[in-house]
Symmetry: C2
Subunit: 385 residues, 2 copies
Amino acid sequence: MTAHPGSQAAYQLLKHTARQALASAPYTGPLWLLDPALVRQQYLALQQALPRARIHYAVKANPHPAILHTLQTLGSDFEIASEQELDSLLQLGVDAARILYSNPIKARRAIRYAYQHGVRWFASDSVEETLKIAAEAPDATQYLRLEVDNDSSDYPLGTKFGLAIAEVPDLLAQARQHGVDIGGVHFHVGSQCRDPAAWLRAIDTVWPVMTLLGEQGFRPRLLNLGGGFPITYDKQAPDIASIGAALMPRLAQLPANCAVVVEPGRYMSGPAGLFICEVINVQRKHGKRWVYADAGMFSGLYELMDGFHYPLELNGAPAGPSGQAILAGPTCDSCDVLSEAMPLPDTLREGDLLWFYHSGVYTQNLVTAFNGMPAPRVVVCPEQS
Amino acid sequence: MTAHPGSQAAYQLLKHTARQALASAPYTGPLWLLDPALVRQQYLALQQALPRARIHYAVKANPHPAILHTLQTLGSDFEIASEQELDSLLQLGVDAARILYSNPIKARRAIRYAYQHGVRWFASDSVEETLKIAAEAPDATQYLRLEVDNDSSDYPLGTKFGLAIAEVPDLLAQARQHGVDIGGVHFHVGSQCRDPAAWLRAIDTVWPVMTLLGEQGFRPRLLNLGGGFPITYDKQAPDIASIGAALMPRLAQLPANCAVVVEPGRYMSGPAGLFICEVINVQRKHGKRWVYADAGMFSGLYELMDGFHYPLELNGAPAGPSGQAILAGPTCDSCDVLSEAMPLPDTLREGDLLWFYHSGVYTQNLVTAFNGMPAPRVVVCPEQS
């Protein structure tokens, strides 16, 4: 087991705030603590590791206003997936020119809305989308989301998005015919990519398209490396400095007028979250230990089912020896089983609190009202003086 | 393909209301229409088919106040999974004595809250839960959720809940020691059970426990048959009259002082919903047709992924010949693919509206804010005069 994040200095405020919240009001349901200072720490580390790249935070990962505000203050740019995400940025006063609309499939009204509010860069991965954007956002620039290998990632992003390289010439022919400005390319290596060579291979895959754009009279000026930068769950992630060291020599070879962009989500906000829930039952069934919590797949812990095993403390202290257990959520649905085999402390019993670190993304924004289970109470750590 | 529900008289109001909603305001995102009159129709049919059973509506299926109000007016009882569901019933003036708390795993505070508000019947499937209920709800009655075969159901409810029959004696010993009133038994045959014999086999499985309760000095007086009554998606479901005809002779053999309870959720509200969303892109990738909608697994269509294929109309009219397509949702997550092989009309194109019937349950209450995608707008059909 890796060193526990809760023991590191940067997590002391998160921990202190959690203890205060639990001391000031009796526990009545899940809590979700957020420390924007940890987002700042991640931002600065990424900026230092990849000075050649502009950082466009992927709002979908954690759209809490405190996170967006902290990033705006730091000078971050942003990446959105919807009109609502755009609205939340505009409300904070973010300049629309600093926003990329990277969702490759958008409703026509969403394109129109974003264009009317000043967004000028839109992703496409098909002729259909390119013509739609051209119609609704006439002088916008498009960048092509291209298919690349996802084999190095813990969580490949599959086949849902991405234009095959072989189909690029057809799209370019249509784009030229409609006067569309194709300004660059985009890829995603998959979530939790722990091998820096994956980005290098992807750059090699997509660079010929940048060359082709230039040859065909377009102005290629954006290389969007997407996200996928890893954080530590149960497996130790390589640190961002080593990923930067692997990528920078390759980025240094690019033409000076080519903007490089990254779109971190999990990397930026993941470490900033602490999710606390309660054990409401422990029992043995058919020789196995079952642990039931008052939060599950429908109330913030969805990613546990995908194997994102958050570093755990029991009642805010390092947990003792752990045997395997089945961890289940509180709803009546039998699919609400978070893990069939999770290491959980042997001493654990009803009433104990599970402290899940690194739960800053895809938690609060995946909450449903299923079974009438309440959304976690959100507590934002105060700014440090 | 079975006869389409949209062509039946009972659906005309739903259809008419949908047309009016679309005519009176431009489409700007998913709509979810609800017709309480269809809930009434289902309630009356079930009551007629199973006159020996009290109907306790499973609030989790669709907790919309209009549905709860209609059922209360009809004299229905209710089944809850949480404090919040209890609150929604109490706000309507439902008598707590008419409520069963059938979630077998509950937070201690939830038991206390329900007890303080008058709930007196609680499910348990373990010694741990029984002692917890005994401590927090001292003179309440408990009924045992028992393991039964789920093999006849399209969607078995798995192993998460249910006490093994072999472990009943241990629990009863503890119950007697703590003066707990064990008043009956409960089972669930699984969702969408299309074989009436499954309930008969389950009754045969659990009845010896009722006998044992009597022998050991308890007062067994509740047999809870759970839910699982099917509705028609792509496969034709047997009608409720035929299920009732199969069950009634067996129920007639029960002692007169044994109350029989059913807990329908999907059966009651499923037919009352119509979910409308828009096709935002159609493209071919690697030889397959991909259809992207503006609603997906995170915005109301979660059950499509489990194979609940709602009867479909295109733009409110019967759809023409259908080839297979991959149906995907609007978020940037590659897991947001609703079906890898769904029959979708060949004529379908961007801007078309998909009308999904029988979508009255596990839609609105499974909505998240993921990617900033909006929740469907809810439209309740007016009462018919």
